[in-house]
């Protein structure tokens, strides 16, 4: 009906309104939730990667002080269903993930029995006392080995360990390779990683026998998915379960999945009739929260003599661990990697094979940059290898090979439509901000001492804001894909919005408030954002895959517009003016050019909720509230460029990052400060993947990195300061102008650092094909190159 008021808060650097309670210890996290009579749960976890559970003797544990119950897999299967992630498509094989393993355990750390006691100390004492007899089975801990015909099988109902496979060719690949002046082929590997949020997973469940409902507080990114997964596993209708996400200390992906512990805790609450709590400790987190990134790819590139990239061929083998995670399935990583591989490049040909392979390791799932970080590593390394082979600057190869902004929407060689992007503009802005030519000159001047300078670039596209169209295409039928918002002006004029998103630190209370305050023309302080409660918030998907601002934000805008239109209709009636002549600003609705002829939003609300106090316009219903369920276009793409400058000590293999520049384009920025915060954190995680982080198993599938002494997250001491250059290419025809942006930092950083290290070591004949690049790895590569060089 009316034009949106001018944006006042959107695009402003507004301090996060959620920070004071978080920083002052007032926020309520899962561990702060205490209910009367509450018991604590702990899990006996399989010490074997693959073993039959012969028998469990809990008598000694049950006799210990404070111990209330011990539950085994054999028992729990009588009243729970295994978690089963479904997918459409013939090649997918689902797995049954039991609430407690029975009759066999498939990875070290898989829950085998649950102990319920008065507190965590007593729980841990009793865990030691549960005697489990195992019959170890041969484990398979490597995806390539798991694909061989005689490999031990994880899931007997399936003919092999391949959970998902796909093949694709755009039809031009062979010809492009045949025509190419240059073709290169190599194998890339990425170590297994985990997201390690500050707060682990956790669940509190409470069964209300009076009305037969279960209330679940869960550290989840997707309350409605958690509800759906629990309903299926517990044989309860969704209407009987309420999921509440309290303050969450980081999610990064793994908290969108439903886990056996969640099901067991709920089942125990229901059976014991007492509230039950489980909080993952760090060891459990490093053993059992969904992991990521373990890939091998055989990849080929075809290019012209001048370095123009023509085509890629790739085989992605992803180690997905023991089970296919709910609700995205084990297809998430390999298929995302395969789809994003063309990135911002104009390719003639692209073909891939992608496999998700089960192994006796922790299941993998969503982690910031899912699939995209690895495919970007493969692609951006290949691009640099082409640059080296043609003796062309890596920046020039990219510039020559990108699709152009004028060609957007651009259908990539994998068939994905990039709605809008300006890759060359992004590259130029970063080269300019970094002073690229100067950096190259410094590099040449630095010479050939023990510290070698390297400069690395990475260009990427980031899949964001996916609607149901994308999930349908990908066969992920359990992912709703839409999100929703209810906007309500309360009788006293305050504005509240209830969203299906679920913040884990992204600053939703601030950014959604900015969006809503602008849509309604009210002060920011008048707005409160409420998330993370399936009873208060409308049904939707939650917060993962860089979707919240696009999808929940879109729903919020559309719901707010309904409320604004109704507000104007009522105000017009009150002011005896035409609605089109009204302007809203700062919570006041005035007749244009006549500031004194005005009512406040509170005036309008009072009338809307108490129609007897005046008269509503004819045909207008009471109250001031609207809900919108928004299913956006399949996706909108952010894009960006990273530049890293490193010094590598060639005697010790140590890498120091001396400069880091990010060019980020996520359309209209709601809050540039929060965008930068997201980038800083994401870059930190990407640098972790590049240099530090790796989940290591021994040959028997025993994880060796079960504390932060061994799983190394970069700290402030290792991280560079990150310079950010913004550009804004809003998606055409979108509701909001926004794109998602939470993952780009992670996607770009690992590859930029890898390329910088490769650049530094190129004169020594070292090629970088694996991550992470620990000092020991680089030392070995340098020594091998020296040996090969001497031999040659």
């Amino acid at each position: 009906m009316s034009m949106a008021p001018a944006r006042k808060y959107v695009s402003a650097r507004i301090k996060r309104v959620e920070d004071p309670p978080l920083l002052m210890g007032k926020a309520r996290y899962l561990s702060d939730i205490t209910l009367g009579g509450m018991l604590t749960v702990g899990f006996v976890r399989s010490p074997h990667a693959h073993a039959r559970i012969v028998r469990i003797d809990a008598r000694a544990a049950l006799a210990m002080p404070g111990v209330e119950a011990v539950l085994t897999g054999e028992q729990v299967r009588a009243f729970t269903q295994p978690i089963r992630a479904e997918m459409s498509g013939a090649s997918y094989r689902s797995t049954d993930w039991a609430a407690l393993a029975w009759p066999k355990a498939r990875f070290v750390g898989e829950p085998v029995a649950a102990v319920v006691a008065s507190d965590r100390y007593r729980v841990e004492d009793a865990l030691d006392a549960v005697v489990v007899e195992y019959e170890p089975l041969p484990p398979v801990v490597d995806a390539e080995a798991a694909m061989t015909a005689d490999a031990p099988r994880l899931h007997e109902q399936h003919p092999d360990n391949i959970i998902i496979q796909a093949r694709y060719d755009n039809g031009e690949t062979d010809r492009a390779f045949a025509d190419a002046a240059i073709t290169l082929r190599t194998t890339f590997r990425h170590g297994r990683c985990t997201s390690a949020p500050m707060e682990g997973r956790g669940v509190v469940a409470s069964w209300d026998a009076a009305d037969g409902t279960l209330t679940v507080w869960a550290s989840t990114q997707a309350p409605h998915f958690t509800r759906a997964g629990l309903a299926a596993a517990l044989d309860l209708p969704e209407s009987r379960i309420r999921v509440i996400a309290p303050a969450i200390g980081g999610g990064f992906g793994p908290k969108m999945h439903v886990y056996p512990e969640d099901v067991t805790v709920c089942a125990l609450a229901r059976r014991l009739g007492r509230p039950v709590k489980w909080l993952e400790d760090r060891r459990e987190n490093l053993l059992t929260s969904a992991q990521a990134r373990e890939f091998v790819a055989q990849a080929e590139v075809a290019a012209d003599r001048d370095g123009t990239i023509l085509a890629f061929r790739a085989t992605f083998i992803c180690d997905v661990g023991a089970y296919s995670v709910y609700p995205t399935t084990a297809a998430l990583e390999p298929m995302t990697a395969a789809g994003i591989m063309p990135g911002p490049y104009r390719l003639r040909g692209y073909s891939y094979e992608a496999y998700g392979v089960a192994t006796n390791k922790c299941p993998t799932g969503a982690y910031r940059g899912v699939g995209m970080a690895f495919a970007t590593f493969v692609r951006e390394r290949l691009v640099d290898m082409v640059a080296a082979a043609c003796a062309v600057d890596p920046a020039d190869v990219r510039r020559r090979s990108f699709f152009a902004q004028k060609d957007t929407p651009y259908t990539t060689a994998s068939g994905i439509i990039v709605d809008s992007a300006d890759p060359a503009g992004s590259l130029a802005s970063v080269l300019d901000a970094a002073g690229y030519d100067g950096l190259r000159a410094e590099q040449r001047a630095a010479g050939n001492g023990r510290l070698r300078r390297g400069i690395g670039l990475c260009a990427y596209t980031e899949f964001t804001g996916m609607g149901s169209g994308t999930f349908r295409r990908r066969g992920m039928t359990q992912v709703s894909g839409y999100d929703a918002a209810t906007v309500r002006v309360e009788p006293t004029g305050e504005v509240r919005a209830f969203l299906s998103a679920a913040s884990q630190g992204q600053g939703h209370a601030t950014t959604f408030a900015q969006v809503l305050a602008d849509e309604l023309g009210v002060p920011l302080a008048a707005v409160t954002i409420i998330e993370g409660d399936t009873e208060r918030c409308p049904h939707g998907s939650g917060s993962f895959a860089s979707r919240s601002m696009v999808v929940s934000g879109g729903a919020l805008i559309l719901a707010a517009r309904k409320v604004r239109d109704k507000t104007l209709t009522i105000a017009a009636h009150m002011l005896e003016a035409a609605a089109t002549d009204l302007v809203i600003d700062d919570g006041r609705i005035a007749v244009r050019g006549m500031a004194s002829r005005a009512v406040t939003l509170a005036d309008v609300a009072r009338l809307a909720y108490r129609p007897a106090s005046g008269t509503l316009p004819p045909g207008v219903d009471p109250a001031l509230e609207a809900t919108h369920h928004y299913d956006p276009p399949p996706a909108t793409f952010s894009n960006g460029t990273h530049l890293a400058v490193v010094d590598v000590d060639i005697e010790t293999g140590e890498v120091r990052i001396v400069r880091y520049v990010v060019g980020e384009d996520c359309g209209t920025m709601v809050n540039p400060m929060i965008v930068e915060g997201q980038l800083h954190g994401a870059v930190a995680q990407g640098i972790g993947n590049a240099l530090y982080e790796r989940i290591v198993h021994d040959d028997g599938g025993q994880p060796l990195t079960t504390s932060f002494m061994d799983y190394l997250l970069p700290t402030t001491m290792e991280l560079p300061s990150v310079e950010v250059v913004h550009s804004e290419t809003p998606p055409p025809g979108s509701v909001s102008g926004f794109k998602g942006m939470a993952e780009g930092g992670t996607i770009g950083a690992a590859s930029a650092v890898a390329n910088a290290v490769a650049d530094a070591l190129a004169p020594l004949g070292v090629e970088v094909r694996e991550l992470p690049l620990a000092p020991d790895v680089l030392h070995r590569l340098i020594a091998r190159a020296a040996r090969d060089g001497t031999r040659a």
């Binding site: 841990e124 400790d281 060891r283 010790t652 060796l704 990195t705 190394l712 000092p775 030392h779």
Partner: protein, 292 residues
């Protein structure tokens, strides 16, 4: 991540501590800064029946100058040593090693004695004490005894302190004139235990010839490795690159390190040599500076 049950004691004197140790025998564990012990308790890697807290025992901390020596009480916080002007002046090798131990928060609680008795194979302090030829003063029911560094570090997480004994102090010789020092290490991240670390001292005579030197390497075996053979490549010579390289070669040849998650044996062997060369160069430069 919760410790198994234990009995907690807070003795108020050394005597009371020794009585408790005698009473509980090898069931007892002393608690100093807790920076190694508490994680081990929480992982249930140790299950002591009795935890004897040293934090209320008077007289175990403080830094004192004695003739030719610096005496540091076992309960002296690592951070206090790091910030001590006396340590910086008299025992600069120790001062240089301190900030490389963990993080400020760890050093605020962690003690000198705790680190030495815990004897992590990659810890900095054992290498410093070994390089300097320090002495460790231990008290038991029978009284005090002094153990030379060379006899103190027995093996992996094991020292010569008996179950009914207490480390009370470490004594370190003060740096002579015309001496230089260096502590260099490679760790995965700032504050991590060293993949390999080297503690070095070099002393010159008036004409710039090396009269004595010491090299101790950490992270390359169960206990710090003292490289006497490499030292022989320096003593009697003017410090020069060729001598450093020869010493580095000898150190590498002597090392028989282990492989673990973070570095291979080969890495530790080679980089042990590299760091020796760098440390000797730095220490010699400092010694020459001190001679001027």
């Amino acid at each position: 991540m919760k410790p198994p049950p234990f009995e907690y004691f807070a003795p108020a004197s050394v005597k009371e501590t020794l009585d408790l140790l005698r009473e509980h025998g090898d069931q007892a564990k002393l608690l100093a800064g807790g920076q190694s012990l508490v994680p081990m308790l929480n992982f249930r890697l140790v299950r002591p029946g009795a935890l004897i807290d040293l934090n209320g025992v008077p007289g175990l901390d403080g830094i004192r100058e004695e003739p030719g020596m610096l005496r540091i009480g076992a309960m002296t916080r690592q951070r206090a040593v790091e910030r001590s002007a006396v340590v910086r002046e008299r025992c600069p090798l120790l001062a240089e090693a301190m900030p490389q131990i963990g993080h400020v928060q760890i050093r605020n609680r962690g003690t000198i004695g705790g680190s030495l008795v815990h004897a992590d194979p990659a810890a900095e302090l054992p290498a410093v004490v070994a390089a300097l030829g320090g002495e460790l003063i231990v008290r038991g029911a029978a009284g005090e005894r002094t153990i030379a560094a060379a006899d103190f570090f027995v093996g992996y997480l094991t020292t010569a302190v008996a179950a009914d004994e207490l480390l009370v102090a470490v004594r370190l010789p003060v740096a002579p004139p015309r001496a230089g020092h260096a502590f260099v290490e490679v760790s995965r991240r700032h504050g991590d235990f060293a993949l390999v670390g080297v503690a070095v001292t070099v002393t010159l005579d008036g004409s710039g010839v090396c009269t004595s030197a010491a090299i101790a390497v950490t992270g390359v075996g169960p206990a710090p490795v003292v490289a006497a053979d490499a030292v022989a490549a320096l003593v009697g010579q003017r410090p020069a690159t060729t001598a450093f390289e020869e010493a580095a070669r000898r150190v590498s040849a002597q090392l028989e390190p282990h492989s673990d998650l973070h570095a291979s044996a080969e890495y530790r062997k080679q980089v042990g040599g590299v760091l020796t060369r760098r440390a000797l160069a730095l220490a010699s430069e400092r010694a020459a500076g001190a001679s001027r």
